[in-house]
Symmetry: C2
Subunit: 230 residues, 2 copies
């Protein structure tokens, strides 16, 4: 029944603090709830692909292996999206959730570290269709700086802050070796970045107000072996 996406590292209490939020959206939504919303979006999008117009919390719950009550409660943090006796309109619920999450716009993103992993990330075709555009690439190595990789010309990390402003980059993706990850993350924070996707195997220190999510398959494997009985 546990439905939780990989590993996140956040410098934030589990419950979002009262950041006063102009757009009238509620301000004490638990972090776990926010992390489940993208799952709802994904499931709804799959449902509408298969031609359904309306879905109940019961059906969604069956799809996502979670209880209908939890789904209704989660949604109730943000408004009343359903119709009693009928359920939710698939397309409009998806649209509402996208809007809540800020997915109804595109986000400029940069990748720092153009080694093996960074190259894989910039050439991964899954980001752009979801509105995450990689618009700059950086590396510390002078041999790599100046190369063009997947249509991006790799720039020196010393230009990071400038380019972040120039290109209105809001999200940093860190693919440098673990030894340099903390300093790169510090540099992103200094450049004003508030959201970081970290592929390096470490728990970085970031100030309050900066969100870091980690991608670490080894960590995932290491917590699964506990449950293997033999």
């Amino acid at each position: 029944m546990d439905q939780r996406a990989f590993w996140t590292c956040t410098a934030r209490p589990m419950t979002t603090p009262n950041i006063s939020n102009d757009s009238g959206s509620p301000s004490n939504v638990p972090e776990v709830v926010i992390q489940r919303l993208p799952l709802y979006v994904r499931a709804l999008s799959q449902f509408s692909d298969s031609g359904n117009n309306v879905i109940s919390s019961e059906q969604l719950g069956r799809r996502l292996q979670m209880t209908p009550a939890q789904i209704r409660k989660d949604l109730s943090y943000f408004g009343r999206f359903g119709k009693q006796g009928r359920g939710y309109n698939v397309a409009s619920l998806e649209q509402r959730l996208r809007s809540i999450l800020g997915l109804d716009r595109a986000w400029n993103t940069t990748v720092i570290g153009m080694g093996r992993l960074g190259r894989a990330v910039v050439s991964y075709p899954g980001f752009a269709p979801e509105g995450f555009n990689i618009v700059a690439a950086f590396d510390a190595d002078d041999d790599i700086v100046g190369q063009t990789i997947s249509g991006l010309d790799v720039q020196s990390i010393s230009a990071l802050s400038e380019i972040v402003k120039e290109k209105d980059i809001k999200i940093g993706i860190v693919t440098v070796p673990v030894e340099h990850a903390q300093e790169v993350i510090d540099a992103l924070v200094d450049a004003g970045i508030k959201s970081i996707l970290n592929y390096a195997p470490l728990s970085p220190k970031v100030p309050d107000g900066v969100t870091v999510r980690g991608i670490d398959p080894v960590l995932s494997l290491q917590s699964m072996t506990y449950y293997i009985n033999e």
Copy 2:
């Protein structure tokens, strides 16, 4: 303060049920605690690299951005590893935690799906040093079956069950396109696999007793944008 690695999907209640556990290890440890243990292992290993012998829960907590009380409580599920007034011996705590997680042995692993992502996974150098050995690779495409990729010869998925037994494979890594992910996961489950690392963007259905952890950078990004203020 939230320290959680990406997305996991587990067919297990948040609190581990009473699976009677021969080796005298406790049987009602919350899942969140299990997910934090690898973070402790990683931090301890970094600490010992920097020449420290002893660490307090306060120091560990500072490193991992979590409270000392939580660390002590987590450890107390498994035993009494510290010395009052001094703290924990870094090396021996790391060893104890590795043993609890089953990381003091190697695990045979297989990757299913030898497209772009699967190739990146089998050539990722981070698994083997942690004891996760990729010993077989599978694909559905006849043009790929028979190729040798990173020293593995790619086999047909129809041979999955047989090879899993033959090579004593305990963990499956799914890198097939999302349309085929559920059927591949079903096949792994049929073959007796209890631990699955899923790179496909879907929440798979698995029976109780099977653990799935998902790796989905898009999902991580989608929950971060909520917090970006503008």
